[in-house]
């Protein structure tokens, strides 16, 4: 099975709220001293792809990233996790291009990569949380789309997918090629690459294309960020005090019971 995994580089989503700032004019987060990292759901996707390949014992995994120069780190890490190849489309334009443009760039890169059975994306990105790239990409490529998948296996000439729903899960049989978005579950927690593989990843060559190479029309605007701000929503916590633990828990219980009685 040939799998293309789309990986996005984002500002570390784990930076604490007090260190997080936005530039309201540029309508972007201020990077400050924060790291750039691979979006976690993309790593869940790569992990899902790797497990699928390991189970089948054949196939190729291509990591694809549309980002400025810094995006190389994402691909090196993907190679260290044991993706077979890395392709970067250099973004020398807007730092946060709109979702349709991203989908068009990725679709053009995928066509240039050639044949694929499955394209995987993360369910959403940890920065703008758009959650649309998979669907738009499927439309650009003219293939079906399934969201929120957490497991994939080969099934005859197609694939069998397990995906999460609001109340449980569904099993889906699908023909390939298709696009799927991956969500987290206990089985696709991304592996930590071995030191040796990290070293090896620096010897591999990455394929690099520009948006111009792909001939993508970048003129159309899908949406624009009109405003970006930080909502303030904190309250003063009453820390329950008392002489004994028993007494404190007693107060806690009372407060809980007061809510219950008021229902």
């Amino acid at each position: 099975m040939n799998i293309i995994v789309c990986l996005k580089q984002i500002l570390d989503p784990d930076i604490p709220g007090r260190d997080f700032k936005v530039d309201p004019l540029a309508k972007e987060a201020v990077r400050g001293s924060a790291n750039l990292v691979t979006n976690i759901f993309c790593e869940n996707a790569l992990e899902t792809a790797l497990q699928c390949k390991e189970k089948i014992g054949a196939g190729k995994i291509t990591a694809l990233c549309f980002a400025p120069e810094s995006g190389e780190d994402v691909l090196r890490k993907a190679l260290a996790m044991k993706a077979d190849e890395g392709v970067q489309v250099l973004n020398d334009g807007a730092p946060n291009p709109d979702p349709l443009l991203v989908a068009r760039v990725l679709a053009a890169a995928i066509r240039k990569i050639g044949t694929f059975d499955v394209v995987m994306v993360g369910r959403e990105s940890g920065d703008w949380g758009v959650g649309q790239t998979g669907g738009l990409l499927a439309e650009e490529l003219g293939v079906p789309y399934v969201g929120f998948v957490d497991h994939i296996e080969a099934n005859g000439s197609g694939v069998k997918l397990k995906r999460q729903t609001d109340s449980g899960f569904e099993i889906i049989e699908a023909q390939t090629p298709l696009v799927i978005s991956i969500t987290n579950d206990e089985h696709n927690v991304p592996r930590v690459p071995k030191t040796r593989d990290v070293m090896m990843s620096f010897r591999q060559t990455l394929t690099k294309w520009s948006v111009g190479d792909l001939g993508v029309d970048t003129s159309e605007s899908y949406y624009e960020v009109a405003e970006l701000g930080i909502p303030i929503k904190e309250s003063a916590c009453e820390f329950i005090t008392g002489d004994t633990l028993e007494e404190r828990v007693g107060q806690l219980a009372e407060k809980i019971l007061a809510v219950k009685r008021a229902l």
Binding site: P13, D14, G17, F20, V22, K27, A29, G126, D127, W128, G129, G131, Q132, G135, E140, P144, Y145, F148, Q164, T165, D166, S167, G168, E170, I171, I172, E173, A174, Q175, L178, T183, D185, E186, V189, S221, Y222, Y223, V225, E227, L228, G229, I230, P231, K233, C237, E238, F239, I240, L245, R248, V249, G250, L252, K255, I256, L257, V259, K260, A262, L263
Partner: protein, 320 residues
Amino acid sequence: MNVVIVFFAKNGFDRAAQGVAGAGRRLANELGIKMQAVIIGAADAALMEATQGVADGVTIADQAELHEYQPELYLSAVTQICQGLAPQAVLLSNDTYSQEMAARLAYRLGGSAAGDVTAIVVSDTHIRAYRSVYGGKAEAVIELKRSPAVLWIRARAFDPAPQHDSTAEVTHAALTLPPAPTRIVERKSEAVSEARLEDAQIIISGGRGLGGPEPFEELKALAALIGAQVAASRAACDSGWCPPTWQVGQTGKKVAPKLYLAIALHGASQHLAGMSDSKMIAAINTDKDAPIFKHCKFGIVEDYRKVLPLLKEKLAAANK
């Protein structure tokens, strides 16, 4: 032009559907246009009546192939119906299927989509959507540049629509559907008997600090004493201590109970994004600087292992 609201019959006229109708009605009023409802699937009388009471017109597609959700068929059905309704905006709910469909529907209609929308405004002729970004640390206003604006909304964040006296007319759509290259062959619901987390009045939520699956059993016992439901952080779900359906947060359930009691749960912004609308938040955590306390009405800085047995005793005593 119309505002179109999309219902999937299986969900009935639940709180989410009511929120969608409410959001749709307000937007239609602001734009000075009508609101059309689209129902996919076999609707029961209650859903039909409620929808006819809130919309100006109803189109239903209920042919056999559409009785159960199938991604490509539902997408095709909604697209075809919308194409006949000249939509300026299409509003969807926040269920899995609506989320899966929104971007593709926008693409097919030549519009633009935005998801997890908490407020909608009109600026000049453009529709703008409010949504939280950066894991709940910031809020953005997104201006949709193409029409229609296809929005899946955080439905419970919107007040229900008023019912009008008249009964909207119903059109039955008979559609030609494409072959389905994907097929849902099995559907499984966990704990069907339980009420939905989104509708819970009290939620007890456990984090990674619980350290294993067993403490979740204790949380369940505690919950049973006060009619609460149990939820979890992503870290706890990813550890396999509880099913993914329990996850609350940016990429989990969005809940707003009267009381949300977070136990051994840090309060990362991505978790807060799913529960900060709760009426009252409380926490048990060993770390007095855990961010969860910044959102709490009250809390205890203590090891949960010491608190739970006593708490259980006291809540049980109150039940007698």
